[in-house]
Symmetry: C2
Subunit: 461 residues, 2 copies
């Protein structure tokens, strides 16, 4: 019944850069691929902050995985959460809606990525959501635009202090995601929203970018870090370095400076872009081969990306601790292609002996419209040329022609114009989450006034 | 402090066609407008089905109300749920996140619209969501695309009966929304998804369009109804007329035919596009002036759209029972403009005596790409010419230039190509709603198998 039943079975776990590019690299291989992922889409994570800030729609950065692979006949895509891998039995167990099933494999590529990490303070997550999934971005979108709505009401009622806390945004983590998020919050408040309100001036919104380290974009060259910091400050962003977050609650956040002094910022909207932790599958694999994961939960694979004693199992991308490689798309893509090429070579009977080596194509981050930084080996580019480079590279890497065209159009509208078309707050957010986080969790003031909204007096102007 | 404090205060309730067009029609009036709405967007409801079926992003049909009105200085937009209107005191009470406030008015335009109605069977709503809000559309989007994902898993495990129920869709209500939804489900399954799966053939998905009445598009001319029905059947849609839904559950739906016989359809995904009920505010108003609302909860206003004894209060749009006018955008828009013109005339000291009269610009519905029907007074248009007309009219009425451009582009991609870019299922839907509706609510079969998914056996092909 199944004509491909006798071909070698390759299981790929994950539909991120690692999983998707592994599947594509095996397009012409005589194998039977099963790609299992928790979500039904491939997520172009570097642009997630644009979904959170209302520029792009989720579909533009998250095409359905099975659509991307529709015409690759040797792959089947399956929605499922991989709960276990048994290296000895060579099986993967996946569950969907609580129902588990187990599949055998001949080759395995594990590309389950990383989740946000609050460094052991998971209770922060409710008040300072991460930036790793489409859900995160939509949650933040609702919170950001919702905060301005609530601030308008607070200001109309003369509660300026509350309005200020509602228009204060703290981004924790000054890596590329944090820098881009803070930059877009500045663009949003200074440009997009400037004419939209009557009682608040969105241009006065306070934006903090905070990191425990002593530089922004720590992984970049020092000259670029300094330029980025200056550019961010010109946008009106307060850059707080050497600032370690020690507490987060509904109304704000506390941090310790380098002198050990504690400070508090009253801010309703917090974004956590600080740390990542590899998928727990890395730990499950490490256990079985006697390895120990590093602080970020990553597994120290062999130089050929396999596990000791298991040349049929590759781990790629953010789950891997190897040569201090950064957790970026390029690493995952190159590792995925390397793993795929080894599998193909094995099938052809020609074992590959060269270890994986990373070719650093460079690194970039946008700061605001028309302004970015990029380093391509020794070349450092800043300002408009870097931004054009950023634009080109991102358009090339976005999956699919349509996404490219609509995304370019949304960028034209947002960068040349002032608009953002994706500003929706769902009713679920207004009546569910927003209400939960913003009101019932807040200590109640006297009477009916819960502190963040005008009270019941006649405001009829 | 407030330079406009002495101008007449106009409160508008609602940001739909009625509310938004009333505000715009008062753009040059020397008044102080407060527009209060539950959601922060204006919703272009006629295209909601395209959000549900993955063609458009919410932002394209739901621009932020305050963005649309950003440059109209005499209006302030406020997120709030109007909980009460006191006609004698001339006050409106609104609540946001549980905090109430009361505003006085000199003129009031109530345009709170209508909600979905399950005709007294609100327990159906969980299994057959309505099609009235962005939340509804996103919920249905997740259910529709999720159903195909689950069907692929069921078919892979050889559970064909389950796969069939998972790829069976029932649309209840054969008005324009129901017809357009059914048509798009056909396009989606027959064209968009045809290459995406390995174990199911989406082209065999069953689509039912059901109505208790004996015709589709009851409000249209008979010749158009027949043509629509034929066109739908050509698309492979089963049109069931004279079919009254008597029960809906997680797994399917039961209906009574005209002979009083009961039938059951096994279908995981049900869409309710059958009835509407006016906002409860209509009832609150009716009480205060001694009127009775009709079966759909609408208030019988005077010929000038005011309430008896309250020439300062207008009710417009879907809340109004007047001359059997249909619940369409044109009626709401024209009523809103009429109310605004009367308010302006009153301000100028020239009372208007002409009653409201509706100018029927015509009516249209799409069936599938390149195919629509339209009636413009005596003129009946079908097929491609009607579709071109539909395209033009909808592009003109979509608010804002950017929305027009991106929407046209998404249409090009969807109608000329095959793709749909907005196919996302959120994780919340996968792990929350989908799981809830699809599994835990279903009677459990033997052992770990809950019925809609492959069980735990090794499926390794």
């Amino acid at each position: 019944m199944n004509p491909i039943a006798t071909r070698p079975r390759v299981i790929i776990i994950g539909s991120g850069f690692g999983g998707l590019f592994a599947a594509r690299a095996l397009a012409r291989a005589d194998v039977d691929i099963r790609l299992i992922a928790r979500t039904t889409h491939h997520l172009f994570q570097p642009l997630l902050y644009q979904v959170a800030t209302g520029i792009l729609a989720p579909g533009e950065i998250a095409p359905a995985t099975r659509e991307v692979l529709a015409h690759q006949d040797n792959v089947q895509v399956e929605m499922g959460d991989v709960t276990d891998i048994d290296l000895d039995a060579r099986t993967v167990t996946a569950a969907t809606l609580g129902v588990a099933r187990t599949y055998g494999y001949d080759h395995l590529i594990v590309a389950a990525g990383a989740n946000q990490s609050w460094f052991g303070n998971d209770q922060f997550a409710e008040y300072a959501p991460g930036m790793k999934s489409v859900d995160d971005a939509l949650e933040l979108r609702g919170r950001i635009f919702g905060a301005f709505e609530l601030a308008e009401l607070a200001a109309a009622a003369g509660r300026d202090e509350e309005a200020e806390a509602l228009t204060t945004f703290v981004v924790v983590g000054a890596g590329p995601t944090g820098v881009e998020m803070a930059g877009q919050l500045a663009e949003l408040s200074r440009r997009t929203l400037r004419h939209d309100f009557r009682h608040i001036d969105p241009r006065t919104a306070k934006i903090y970018l905070m990191d425990a380290a002593d530089a922004v974009l720590g992984s970049f060259d020092e000259s670029l870090r300094d330029k980025t910091r200056t550019a961010l400050e010109k946008l009106g962003i307060d850059v707080l370095l050497g600032a370690k977050v020690v507490d987060v609650d509904a109304r704000g956040l506390e941090y310790e400076d380098e002198a050990g002094e504690r400070h508090r910022i009253e801010a309703l909207t917090k974004v956590w872009a600080a740390g990542v932790a590899a998928s727990p599958l890395a730990g499950r694999l490490a256990e079985q081969v006697g390895l120990t994961v590093d602080r970020a939960g990553r597994i120290p694979v062999r130089a050929d990306l396999t596990l000791p004693g298991h040349p049929e199992v590759y781990v790629v991308g953010d789950m891997v601790a190897l040569d201090n490689l950064p957790g970026v798309a390029q690493v995952a893509i190159q590792q995925a292609r390397y793993a795929a090429s080894r599998i193909k070579a094995t099938l052809g009977g020609k074992p590959v002996t060269e270890p994986f080596s990373y070719f650093d194509k460079g690194n970039m981050a946008t700061i605001s419209r028309f302004r970015a930084i990029a380093e391509i080996r020794r070349l450092k580019v800043t300002g408009f040329p870097a931004w054009v480079l950023w634009l080109g590279v991102h358009l090339v890497y976005i999956i699919g022609f349509k996404s490219r065209v609509t995304t370019l159009l949304h960028w034209l509208v947002s960068f040349l114009g002032r608009g953002r078309s994706e500003r929706n707050i769902t009713e679920q957010q207004i009546f569910g989450r927003l209400a939960m986080n913003r009101v019932s969790d807040l200590p109640e003031k006297a009477g009916r006034n819960v502190g963040w909204l005008p009270d019941g007096e006649d405001q009829g102007s």
